[in-house]
């Protein structure tokens, strides 16, 4: 395996560069996936049938908290990648652990939010609006959940094998994924919650 030491560890081999490029392409597909879910939501968001609309069920506090947690986690994973580039394994792991904990916090609040909706009688089968809302949120939440498991797997590998071209590559790609989920959430926050609360 040829290692180009002039590049950061995660870019240092041909295979690593391919993987990063490929992941960007995959994120392109993910953007289309979420764009379609957003489009479905925008088409259906006024079609509440006999169920509640957004303004009736959205609560600002938990949503703000979720936003804060996820934005913070995006920041900490950035710090983690920075630490990784400096070759500081311990700092890198610490920041990644904080990121995952923040992600877990986000998930707990989101699940609580869903439980509240269901208790208020707003389930995924109530109306087209709620179907599209919960599918959009659920898809994002499922991505976060998958990310938590993925992040743990990477942490174990870094702990066992140290920072090498393979583990650094995985950690970097994971950070791209995590930032992407954060961006999607910003769109959800603005165009689902804020717009829903205003109208």
């Amino acid at each position: 395996m040829k290692i180009d030491s002039s590049l950061p560890l995660e870019y240092s081999t041909e295979e690593n560069r391919l993987k990063i490029f490929g992941f960007w392409v995959f994120l392109g597909a993910e953007i289309m996936l979420f764009a379609t879910l957003f489009a479905v939501y925008f088409v259906l968001h006024n079609r509440t049938g006999s169920g509640p609309n957004g303004a009736e069920i959205f609560e600002l506090t938990p949503v703000l908290l979720e936003t804060f947690l996820l934005l913070a986690s995006s920041f900490t994973i950035g710090l983690g990648v920075h630490a990784m580039r400096l070759g500081n394994k311990k700092a890198m792991m610490t920041f990644f652990i904080i990121t995952l904990i923040l992600g877990l916090g986000f998930l707990v609040i989101e699940i609580d939010e869903f439980v509240t909706y269901v208790h208020e009688g707003a389930t995924i089968t109530t109306s087209a609006f709620l179907s599209s809302l919960m599918t959009l949120l659920g898809t994002h939440g499922a991505h976060v959940t998958f990310g938590l498991f993925w992040g743990v797997a990477i942490l174990i590998q870094v702990a066992k094998r140290g920072l090498n071209p393979q583990t650094a590559n995985k950690a970097f790609i994971f950070s791209l994924y995590w930032h992407f989920l954060d961006v999607v959430w910003i769109f959800i926050f603005s165009f689902v919650y804020l717009k829903g609360l205003i109208s």
Partner: protein, 322 residues
């Protein structure tokens, strides 16, 4: 090459069939709307035949002139990058053809989407056509009667069919009178047509909707105003009113024969709202992946909406006057 000739033969054969002999249904229109479409189709066929001819002549020329068996053994084909003049030519000419057809399309589409020419001074007769399973219900709010699986229309009045469905999407089509349109469960669509002469026409659902689809036909009969009035009178006098119970029974049935009633189901089971009336802010054109396109859509819908709203108030006025 015999394949090429057989193709040419087929193409010319088709043109011959289209222009002469026994006219095909689409080329045998009996109303202004279908006439417009027939003319449009013939015009497009002629345009396309010219394009086909150009391609076929070039193709035949290349194949006869440049085959290996004709070239000398040491002939070495030259290296040719391309030609800007030629490439611009075969980009610009198609653009002109497409522009021409686009103008034709916009013009004819708006023609068939409005009250037919020559009939626009007359009040249109509104008929609601709703599909359920594999049958059609026709309600005449103006006359206060309803029929199943057949529809009678007067010849000297423009007709507006208001379409919707009690189930899967169907498509209402009387090819000799007008092009088709979908009937859907959650919104009302409109077909404008008029019949120039007395006659009986095949009407059907053309959009696949399950097991009984093939048999989902109805007869559309055009008759003079006097005959039509007489028929309405007969129905009013001889047929029972349509009760909610009877209507439910009808809806549940798969296939039924023809029947007539002296009242409509619209009184207890109103039709859905027209396209565009329902979600004012929303875009009812589905996917909006390209946000700049959305804007266009919305703009267009507003136009569409105003138009539909007008139709509605007119229709409401009619319904109330009876």
């Amino acid at each position: 090459m015999n394949k090429k000739f057989s193709l040419m033969l087929l193409a010319f054969g088709a043109i011959a069939i289209l222009s002469g002999c026994e006219p095909l249904t689409v080329f045998n229109p009996k109303g202004p709307n279908a006439q417009t479409l027939s003319n449009t189709i013939i015009l497009s066929i002629i345009t396309m035949a010219v394009i086909l001819l150009v391609v076929y002549v070039l193709f035949a020329f290349m194949l006869t002139k440049y085959r290996a068996s004709k070239a000398s053994a040491d002939y070495e084909p030259p290296h040719e990058e391309g030609s800007h003049v030629l490439e611009i030519t075969w980009t610009v000419i198609p653009i002109i053809i497409v522009a021409f057809l686009a103008i034709v399309t916009v013009k004819t589409t708006s023609t068939v989407e409005t009250t037919p020419e020559g009939y626009d001074n007359k009040e249109p007769l509104v008929i609601y056509a709703a599909s359920s399973n594999w049958k059609w219900h026709f309600s005449y709010p103006e006359q206060g009667i309803e029929t199943v699986n057949y529809v009678n229309i007067p010849t000297d009045r423009p007709i507006e069919f208001k379409l919707y469905s009690f189930g899967p999407i169907t498509s209402f089509w009387i090819p000799q009178l007008a092009g088709q349109k979908y009937a859907m469960s959650d919104m009302l669509t409109t077909i404008h047509l008029a019949a120039d002469e007395v006659g009986s026409f095949m009407g059907r659902n053309s959009n696949f909707n399950g097991r009984g689809f093939a048999e989902m036909e109805f007869e559309a009969q055009s008759m003079t105003q006097a005959d039509f009035d007489q028929w309405v009178k007969d129905v009013k006098a001889n047929e029972k009113p349509l009760t909610e119970e009877k209507f439910k029974e009808l809806l549940a049935a798969e296939h039924v024969g023809r029947s007539s009633y002296s009242s409509t189901h619209l009184d207890f089971s109103p039709a859905p709202m027209a396209h565009g009336d329902m979600d004012m802010g929303g875009m009812d054109h589905g996917d909006m992946d390209m946000s700049d396109k959305d804007m266009n859509h919305e703009d267009m819908n507003h136009e569409n909406m105003d138009h539909e709203n007008m139709d509605h108030s007119k229709k409401d006025a009619e319904t109330h006057s009876h």
